[in-house]
Symmetry: C2
Subunit: 118 residues, 2 copies
Amino acid sequence: MPPELRAAVVQDAGTERVLMLAWMDEEALRLTRETGEAHFYSRSRATLWHKGETSGNTLAVEELRDDCDGDAILLRVEQRGGAACHTGRRSCFFRRLDGDRWVVVGERVFDPDEVYRR
Amino acid sequence: MPPELRAAVVQDAGTERVLMLAWMDEEALRLTRETGEAHFYSRSRATLWHKGETSGNTLAVEELRDDCDGDAILLRVEQRGGAACHTGRRSCFFRRLDGDRWVVVGERVFDPDEVYRR
Protein backbone atom coordinates (compact mmCIF):
# COMPACT_ATOMS: atom_id res chain seq x y z
CA MET A 1 0.00 0.00 0.00
CA PRO A 2 1.42 3.43 -0.87
CA PRO A 3 2.25 5.19 2.43
CA GLU A 4 0.14 8.20 1.51
CA LEU A 5 -3.11 6.18 1.47
CA ARG A 6 -5.52 6.76 4.31
CA ALA A 7 -8.35 4.52 5.41
CA ALA A 8 -11.68 6.20 4.65
CA VAL A 9 -14.57 5.21 6.89
CA VAL A 10 -17.96 5.98 5.35
CA GLN A 11 -20.88 6.51 7.70
CA ASP A 12 -24.48 7.33 6.75
CA ALA A 13 -25.22 10.68 8.41
CA GLY A 14 -28.91 9.81 8.68
CA THR A 15 -28.96 6.21 9.93
CA GLU A 16 -25.43 6.38 11.50
CA ARG A 17 -24.73 3.02 9.87
CA VAL A 18 -21.13 2.35 8.84
CA LEU A 19 -21.41 1.68 5.12
CA MET A 20 -17.94 0.85 3.87
CA LEU A 21 -14.20 1.15 4.28
CA ALA A 22 -12.29 2.53 1.33
CA TRP A 23 -8.94 4.25 0.73
CA MET A 24 -8.01 7.81 -0.13
CA ASP A 25 -4.92 9.46 -1.52
CA GLU A 26 -4.51 13.23 -1.66
CA GLU A 27 -6.14 13.43 -5.10
CA ALA A 28 -9.21 11.50 -3.92
CA LEU A 29 -9.49 13.81 -0.91
CA ARG A 30 -9.12 16.92 -3.09
CA LEU A 31 -11.81 15.76 -5.55
CA THR A 32 -14.11 14.79 -2.69
CA ARG A 33 -13.75 18.27 -1.22
CA GLU A 34 -14.21 20.02 -4.56
CA THR A 35 -17.20 18.03 -5.82
CA GLY A 36 -18.92 17.11 -2.57
CA GLU A 37 -19.08 13.49 -3.76
CA ALA A 38 -16.91 10.71 -2.39
CA HIS A 39 -13.86 9.76 -4.46
CA PHE A 40 -11.52 7.00 -3.41
CA TYR A 41 -8.35 5.26 -4.46
CA SER A 42 -8.86 1.67 -5.59
CA ARG A 43 -5.99 -0.47 -4.31
CA SER A 44 -6.95 -3.41 -6.54
CA ARG A 45 -7.15 -1.30 -9.71
CA ALA A 46 -4.47 1.19 -8.57
CA THR A 47 -6.54 4.12 -9.77
CA LEU A 48 -8.75 6.96 -8.65
CA TRP A 49 -12.39 6.00 -8.30
CA HIS A 50 -15.53 8.11 -8.25
CA LYS A 51 -17.89 6.07 -6.06
CA GLY A 52 -21.12 5.36 -7.94
CA GLU A 53 -19.83 6.24 -11.41
CA THR A 54 -21.08 2.88 -12.70
CA SER A 55 -23.90 1.99 -10.31
CA GLY A 56 -25.28 5.49 -9.68
CA ASN A 57 -24.93 4.88 -5.95
CA THR A 58 -22.97 8.04 -5.20
CA LEU A 59 -22.19 9.38 -1.75
CA ALA A 60 -22.90 13.06 -1.04
CA VAL A 61 -20.50 14.18 1.67
CA GLU A 62 -22.02 16.14 4.53
CA GLU A 63 -18.98 16.21 6.78
CA LEU A 64 -15.31 15.23 6.65
CA ARG A 65 -13.34 14.38 9.76
CA ASP A 66 -9.65 13.73 10.25
CA ASP A 67 -8.27 11.50 13.00
CA CYS A 68 -5.64 12.02 15.68
CA ASP A 69 -2.77 10.26 13.93
CA GLY A 70 -3.63 11.22 10.37
CA ASP A 71 -4.08 7.73 8.92
CA ALA A 72 -7.86 7.80 8.59
CA ILE A 73 -10.70 10.01 7.33
CA LEU A 74 -14.34 9.80 8.35
CA LEU A 75 -16.90 10.72 5.69
CA ARG A 76 -20.41 11.35 6.94
CA VAL A 77 -22.58 11.01 3.86
CA GLU A 78 -26.00 10.97 2.35
CA GLN A 79 -26.25 7.68 0.48
CA ARG A 80 -27.82 8.10 -2.95
CA GLY A 81 -29.36 5.08 -4.64
CA GLY A 82 -29.64 3.02 -1.48
CA ALA A 83 -26.65 0.71 -1.69
CA ALA A 84 -23.01 1.40 -0.89
CA CYS A 85 -21.80 -2.15 -1.47
CA HIS A 86 -21.02 -3.60 -4.89
CA THR A 87 -22.90 -6.74 -3.80
CA GLY A 88 -26.09 -4.68 -3.78
CA ARG A 89 -26.38 -4.19 -0.05
CA ARG A 90 -26.71 -0.94 1.90
CA SER A 91 -23.52 -1.62 3.82
CA CYS A 92 -20.39 -3.61 2.98
CA PHE A 93 -20.41 -4.88 6.58
CA PHE A 94 -23.15 -7.43 6.02
CA ARG A 95 -21.56 -10.43 7.73
CA ARG A 96 -21.87 -10.71 11.50
CA LEU A 97 -19.86 -13.09 13.64
CA ASP A 98 -22.23 -15.51 15.37
CA GLY A 99 -20.24 -17.94 17.52
CA ASP A 100 -17.67 -19.30 15.08
CA ARG A 101 -19.57 -18.46 11.90
CA TRP A 102 -19.89 -15.33 9.79
CA VAL A 103 -23.61 -14.95 9.07
CA VAL A 104 -25.02 -12.76 6.31
CA VAL A 105 -27.39 -10.21 7.83
CA GLY A 106 -27.72 -7.54 5.11
CA GLU A 107 -30.55 -7.63 2.58
CA ARG A 108 -29.86 -6.90 -1.07
CA VAL A 109 -31.20 -3.58 -2.38
CA PHE A 110 -30.19 -4.23 -6.00
CA ASP A 111 -29.04 -7.13 -8.13
CA PRO A 112 -25.38 -6.53 -9.06
CA ASP A 113 -25.75 -8.64 -12.23
CA GLU A 114 -28.26 -6.08 -13.49
CA VAL A 115 -26.38 -2.97 -12.45
CA TYR A 116 -22.85 -3.89 -13.49
CA ARG A 117 -23.57 -5.79 -16.71
CA ARG A 118 -21.51 -4.64 -19.68
CA MET B 1 1.84 -2.66 5.97
CA PRO B 2 1.80 -6.45 6.27
CA PRO B 3 -0.79 -7.78 3.80
CA GLU B 4 -2.65 -9.65 6.52
CA LEU B 5 -3.58 -6.46 8.40
CA ARG B 6 -7.17 -5.35 8.19
CA ALA B 7 -8.58 -1.93 8.97
CA ALA B 8 -10.69 -2.11 12.14
CA VAL B 9 -13.48 0.46 12.40
CA VAL B 10 -14.67 0.96 15.97
CA GLN B 11 -18.20 2.23 16.48
CA ASP B 12 -19.95 2.92 19.79
CA ALA B 13 -23.01 0.62 19.81
CA GLY B 14 -24.92 3.06 22.01
CA THR B 15 -24.23 6.48 20.48
CA GLU B 16 -23.37 5.08 16.99
CA ARG B 17 -20.37 7.41 16.97
CA VAL B 18 -17.31 6.21 15.06
CA LEU B 19 -14.60 6.20 17.70
CA MET B 20 -11.38 5.17 16.00
CA LEU B 21 -9.68 3.34 13.17
CA ALA B 22 -7.13 0.73 14.15
CA TRP B 23 -5.55 -2.36 12.58
CA MET B 24 -5.99 -6.06 13.21
CA ASP B 25 -3.97 -9.12 12.36
CA GLU B 26 -5.28 -12.66 12.90
CA GLU B 27 -3.91 -12.76 16.45
CA ALA B 28 -5.65 -9.50 17.39
CA LEU B 29 -8.90 -10.82 15.96
CA ARG B 30 -8.54 -14.13 17.82
CA LEU B 31 -7.87 -12.42 21.16
CA THR B 32 -10.74 -10.02 20.59
CA ARG B 33 -13.08 -12.94 19.99
CA GLU B 34 -11.80 -14.92 22.97
CA THR B 35 -11.75 -12.11 25.53
CA GLY B 36 -14.59 -9.90 24.28
CA GLU B 37 -12.28 -6.89 24.54
CA ALA B 38 -10.77 -5.13 21.53
CA HIS B 39 -7.19 -6.05 20.66
CA PHE B 40 -5.36 -4.44 17.77
CA TYR B 41 -2.05 -4.51 15.97
CA SER B 42 0.00 -1.35 16.41
CA ARG B 43 1.69 -0.48 13.12
CA SER B 44 3.97 2.11 14.75
CA ARG B 45 5.13 -0.28 17.49
CA ALA B 46 4.79 -3.41 15.34
CA THR B 47 3.17 -5.31 18.17
CA LEU B 48 -0.12 -6.62 19.48
CA TRP B 49 -2.01 -4.12 21.58
CA HIS B 50 -4.79 -4.58 24.14
CA LYS B 51 -6.75 -1.35 23.85
CA GLY B 52 -6.98 0.34 27.26
CA GLU B 53 -4.23 -1.69 28.94
CA THR B 54 -2.58 1.57 30.07
CA SER B 55 -5.46 4.04 30.17
CA GLY B 56 -8.20 1.71 31.39
CA ASN B 57 -10.33 2.81 28.42
CA THR B 58 -11.10 -0.67 27.17
CA LEU B 59 -13.64 -1.53 24.49
CA ALA B 60 -16.16 -4.32 25.19
CA VAL B 61 -17.15 -5.84 21.87
CA GLU B 62 -20.88 -6.34 21.32
CA GLU B 63 -20.71 -7.28 17.66
CA LEU B 64 -18.10 -8.06 15.02
CA ARG B 65 -18.76 -7.57 11.33
CA ASP B 66 -16.71 -8.52 8.31
CA ASP B 67 -16.86 -6.63 5.01
CA CYS B 68 -17.44 -7.73 1.43
CA ASP B 69 -13.82 -7.78 0.31
CA GLY B 70 -12.25 -8.92 3.57
CA ASP B 71 -9.97 -5.95 4.20
CA ALA B 72 -11.94 -4.42 7.08
CA ILE B 73 -13.65 -5.36 10.32
CA LEU B 74 -16.35 -3.39 12.11
CA LEU B 75 -16.38 -3.58 15.91
CA ARG B 76 -19.53 -2.37 17.61
CA VAL B 77 -18.49 -1.72 21.19
CA GLU B 78 -19.36 -0.45 24.61
CA GLN B 79 -16.76 2.17 25.43
CA ARG B 80 -15.46 1.85 28.99
CA GLY B 81 -13.85 4.84 30.66
CA GLY B 82 -15.32 7.35 28.24
CA ALA B 83 -12.44 8.04 25.88
CA ALA B 84 -11.21 5.99 22.92
CA CYS B 85 -8.56 8.47 21.80
CA HIS B 86 -5.10 8.73 23.34
CA THR B 87 -5.56 12.54 23.28
CA GLY B 88 -8.29 12.13 25.90
CA ARG B 89 -11.27 12.54 23.58
CA ARG B 90 -14.23 10.22 23.11
CA SER B 91 -13.43 9.80 19.41
CA CYS B 92 -10.20 10.00 17.45
CA PHE B 93 -12.16 11.81 14.73
CA PHE B 94 -12.23 15.15 16.53
CA ARG B 95 -11.20 17.42 13.66
CA ARG B 96 -13.87 18.52 11.21
CA LEU B 97 -13.16 20.14 7.87
CA ASP B 98 -14.64 23.66 7.86
CA GLY B 99 -13.93 25.34 4.50
CA ASP B 100 -10.17 24.95 4.14
CA ARG B 101 -9.42 24.40 7.82
CA TRP B 102 -9.53 21.38 10.11
CA VAL B 103 -11.31 22.54 13.28
CA VAL B 104 -11.16 20.69 16.58
CA VAL B 105 -14.67 19.80 17.69
CA GLY B 106 -14.12 17.07 20.31
CA GLU B 107 -13.95 17.92 24.00
CA ARG B 108 -11.35 16.24 26.20
CA VAL B 109 -12.67 13.67 28.67
CA PHE B 110 -9.30 13.11 30.37
CA ASP B 111 -5.87 14.73 30.47
CA PRO B 112 -3.41 12.40 28.70
CA ASP B 113 -0.49 13.80 30.73
CA GLU B 114 -2.17 12.43 33.86
CA VAL B 115 -3.20 9.08 32.43
CA TYR B 116 -0.05 8.10 30.53
CA ARG B 117 2.61 9.42 32.91
CA ARG B 118 5.29 6.91 33.80
